[in-house]
């Protein structure tokens, strides 16, 4: 085997770099598909409801354990807060997706 020619290697490296930056600009962060967005929103919303409801249920259970009968109060309260958190999550997700689409349409290599 002969030693690799440094000029050719450098040239190859440069060409590879060029190709990679070009590809990175186009491949990176393809905007999610419609169903992907829908799925994301659903999970964010439902997860918040589950966590909120679960947290309220847990607090009620804990109080019940110590003899305070608060049963539906915290469940209802935290469920409502869970709805708000879910909407907050969805709004945050929407902002992120919008930013992705904007970055995609501007199609410049991303530098943060």
């Amino acid at each position: 085997m002969t030693a690799p020619d440094p000029d050719r290697l450098n040239d190859l490296g440069k060409r590879l770099d060029e190709l990679q930056t070009r590809q990175a600009a186009s491949v990176k962060r393809a905007p999610p598909s419609q169903s992907g967005i829908a799925f994301r929103f659903t999970t964010e919303l439902v997860a918040a409801l589950v966590v909120g409801g679960g947290l309220g249920w847990g607090i009620d259970w804990l109080f019940g354990h110590f003899g305070f009968h608060t049963r539906p109060v915290f469940l209802v309260l935290f469920f409502v807060v869970g709805i708000a958190a879910g909407i907050r999550n969805v709004m945050r997700a929407a902002t992120e997706i919008n930013a992705e689409i904007a970055a995609k349409s501007a199609s410049k290599p991303e530098e943060k």
């Binding site: 690799p4 290697l9 990175a24 990176k28 799925f39 994301r40 999970t43 964010e44 997860a47 918040a48 589950v50 966590v51 909120g52 947290l55 935290f78 807060v81 869970g82 708000a84 958190a85 879910g86 907050r88 999550n89 945050r92 991303e110 530098e111 943060k112």
Partner: protein, 253 residues
């Protein structure tokens, strides 16, 4: 013969005797455990052996290993910046594990580790746990400012619980996204495979009709390969985004 498309997700003990007991609960060696061990061993073996020659002009295997390294390194760098690179081993392991689990699950007759909510939830809890630990180590008690948005104090009474719950949804949305995608894809494949079998068994003209779902399976298989990669990517990038929040509070606003 009716086939149950959900049967592929059943966890079965491979050895009828429990391997060990933890607090009175028998622990079995299941197909799930076997696949996880295979994934872990195969991916570490591949990655170490592929970069072993260390050639200047890489072979295909070395190139794959180097590309995955660069891919994850770039991802961490763009999402968290310079100081996020400390977490490269963690994110890389997570990414490779999820990716290999998804791909091993695509082999017909094998088992998809990531189609189990127990696995994905454990991984997601690991991520969020790390985020909390890193946040407190870096900012001390100031990490709690993550839950305090810029708002007048009378709104904070309402907003802080919302932010806390919003934070707590992360492990759930992270794990459900991976688990549901894998579950849905593999169920769909099994359903269409069931069509092929029952149409083929019906005989006569139905044998010809069976070709349609068969072709569809090929298409879905390709789509599933894409989903397998994409979900591993989403899992890793969200890990980076969460780590970024722990490292740089409120920078994302």
């Amino acid at each position: 013969m009716a086939m149950n498309p959900m049967e592929q997700f059943a966890i079965k003990p491979l050895i009828s005797e429990p391997v060990l007991h933890i607090a009175g609960h028998p622990i079995y060696f299941t197909n799930q455990a076997l696949l996880m061990i295979i994934v872990a061993i195969a991916s570490s073996l591949f990655l170490t052996l592929a970069v072993k020659p260390g050639r200047l002009v890489p072979t295909r295997g070395q190139s794959m290993a180097e590309l995955s390294y660069e891919f994850v390194a770039n991802m961490i760098h763009s999402a968290t910046g310079e100081d996020g690179l400390k977490f490269f081993p963690f994110v890389f392991t997570l990414f490779i594990f999820v990716l290999c689990s998804n791909f091993f699950g695509m082999v017909p007759g094998s088992f998809t580790v990531t189609s189990q909510i127990a696995v994905t939830l454990a991984l997601a809890c690991l991520v969020v746990g790390l985020v909390i630990v890193v946040g407190f180590m870096k900012h001390g008690i100031g990490f709690l400012k993550l839950f305090v948005p810029h708002a007048p104090w009378y709104l904070l009474i309402l907003l802080i619980p919302i932010e806390v719950i919003s934070f707590l949804t992360r492990p759930i949305s992270l794990s459900v996204r991976l688990f549901a995608n894998m579950l849905a894809g593999h169920t769909m494949l099994a359903v269409f495979a069931g069509f092929v079998v029952s149409l083929g068994a019906a005989g006569g003209i139905y044998m010809g009709v069976a070709l349609a779902p068969l072709l569809l399976i090929v298409a879905i298989m390709l789509l599933e390969l894409l989903v397998a990669f994409l979900q591993a990517y989403v899992f890793a990038i969200l890990t980076c985004i969460y780590l970024n929040e722990a490292l740089h509070l409120h920078d994302h606003h």
